[in-house]
Amino acid sequence: MTTLAGSQAKSKRQQLAGKILHKIWDQRWLYVFTIPGIIFFLLFSYYPMFGIIMAFQDYNPVKGYSGSEFVGFDNFNTIFQLPDFNNALRNTLIISGLKLIIGFPATILFALFINEIHHTIFKRVVQTISYLPYFISWVIAAGLWYKMLSPDGGLINEMLTKVGFLNEPYYFMGSTTAFVPIVLFTELWKNIGFNAIIYLAALSSIDPHLYEVSSIDGASRVRQIWHIALPGIRGTMVLLFILSASGLMSAGFDQLWTMGNLQVQEVGQILDTLILSYLRNSGGFMGLSLGATMGVFQATVGLILFLVCNFVAKLFKQESLI
């Protein structure tokens, strides 16, 4: 009896195993299609995440993660005492904060102005031109503006000396006073047209009847903007503000690396560029661990910001970003 029951159970198990195998075989292509992706994210996302343990080590490239000595939170204590790090942290917050404060309303204003153009072809041409700077790399953008602002025959200097505003060419890119305004200006120049797209989409979904009715009532364009357009895109505004606020720890790595230079490090060095220079010039092994620690600090604060902002977004509009 027992043997019979045993063999029955066994054959049932075999059947089940056969079924599972059959199903796997049936879906074999689905496994084939995804296994490269699983390996990819394992190697290039999860393994580097594991690498943050080096922030708690005195990492030695020869010994690797397993052989390096653990030092607890020493690296964190060290970076907070580094003038370079504190400077970069301050600059990151200043630059990204200013970008948010200026860029956010400027983009909305730009979208409102575009939206007020009623000539279709003109509108399309303006929009197309306004996207152009978005599609080029920061290397190109930096090259263009370096030349425009160059003290050695750049257009701006030529103009300013011609009208007598300047007596001699001014080295804008090497000036600690001019650098941050230039960063803010070029950021707007490059991205405002493209960033306005979402607002324009929101504006175009406003019921046109509202405009018609209000203009019958004699409302001016400005009043229409204030009472119809702005309330109509409030949801989008809140969401985008929160989204950009959550990126406060990133001040624009590409831009600051391509436009920055030694003379303006004091105001232009941000966390991302500091980490890259630690990687490039670390020389000693110490630098790698410290750079990684800065990265962990930046990512952690960034994540907390994102979660807080997402929570706030939920409160505002029952709509979360994730």
């Binding site: 879906q27 292509w29 084939v32 299609f33 995804t34 490269p36 992706g37 699983i38 990819f40 994210f41 290039f44 996302s45 393994y47 580097p48 995440m49 594991f50 690498g51 943050i52 080096m54 730009f110 102005f113 575009i114 007020e116 153009i117 009623h118 003109f122 303006v126 031109i129 306004s130 996207y131 152009l132 700077p133 599609f135 080029i136 790399s137 290397v139 090259g143 263009l144 370096y146 030349k147 025959g153 257009l155 120049w189 797209i197 979402i198 018609e212 203009s215 001016s220 364009r221 400005v222 391509t258 980490i275 890259l276 990687l279 490039r280 750079g291 990265g295 962990v296 994102f306 994730i322």
Partner: protein, 292 residues
């Protein structure tokens, strides 16, 4: 609709503002183009704003005849091509599986790609990873770490979910394998979204300077962006040293004029195609602004 006088003024003001803005967007390119088409020595005197004064193709002919620069463009074009083809194919396959409700790993795969969008090890652990995988300093450094993009997977998945299921089911009844279904039905039907991500990825590859700058020290593998960054960031003297190494003898160009011509040559392809891509990009960000 009746128009008051105030309204007319508003329209005129708005038009002028937009014309000024468009000019601001375009002008740096015009300025650089004019200088790049002007004789280098003459350009140093200044005064060129819209048109070249002493027209010449010299700066461009040097770029197209210089081996280093030519190599950089070849590498750039190759990485764009290989990068786009591989990513589009891999992303489409991955996204297709994510639409299969009866696939046991579906939930796991969703999380597997979402988590890295919020957590990252940072630059230095990533560098060490590439080092350990022997992926520094090779052409494949441009390709392999960029094979997948989580955001693109989600974009394609959203599109594929909306395809009619009936097509797939009838193929299944006819005994087609998932492989056949994917390649002969799903992939061709997803062309619009795949074109979108191909453009995202292509422009990304063309514009990327960071990979070459950070992970590749062999100058033979540099892209056009890397060469440009080098010219922009290094000082004039070393630029001239590079130049004179490139052209022993008659120097009718300056580092500056070469830089200007390279800026134009590197921008030109984007300039030519972006008006046609913009609608795809717009579609992309609209899709992306919806919940993932």
């Amino acid at each position: 609709m009746q128009r008051s006088r105030g309204e007319k003024w508003f329209n005129v003001f708005n038009m002028l503002l937009m014309i000024a803005f468009s000019f601001l967007c375009l002008y740096p390119f015009i300025y650089i183009l004019a200088i790049s088409l002007n004789d280098a020595m003459d350009a140093q005197k200044g005064g060129i704003y819209m048109w070249p004064r002493m027209f010449t193709w010299n700066n461009y002919s040097i770029i197209f005849n210089d081996q280093n620069i030519f190599l950089a463009y070849t590498v750039t074009v190759a990485r764009v091509f290989v990068g786009v083809v591989t990513q589009v194919l891999l992303v489409a396959m991955f996204a297709y599986v994510l639409t299969k409700k009866n696939f046991p790993l579906r939930k796991f795969l969703n999380w597997w790609i979402v988590i890295p969008m919020f957590l990252s090890g940072g630059l230095i652990p990533f560098y060490i990873t590439l080092q350990q995988l022997h992926l520094l300093n090779s052409f494949w450094t441009y390709i392999i770490p960029g094979l997948y993009g989580a955001f693109n997977i989600m974009l394609v998945r959203t599109f594929m979910t909306e395809l009619p299921e009936a097509l797939e089911e009838s193929a299944k009844i006819d005994g087609a394998s998932d492989f056949r279904i994917f390649f002969s039905i799903i992939f061709p039907l997803s062309k619009p979204v795949l074109a979108t991500i191909a453009l995202f990825v292509g422009v990304g590859h063309w514009n990327d300077w960071f990979t070459g700058f950070t992970f590749i020290s062999n100058a033979d593998l540099w892209t056009a962006q890397n060469l440009l960054l080098f010219l922009i960031q290094s000082n004039e003297a070393s630029n001239l040293a590079v130049l004179s190494k490139m052209h022993n003898g008659t120097v009718t160009v300056t580092a500056e004029s070469i830089k200007m011509a390279m800026l134009i040559v590197t921008t030109a392809p984007i300039l030519c195609i972006y008006p046609f891509l913009q609608k795809y990009f717009v579609k992309g960000i609209m899709l992306g602004s919806l919940k993932g």
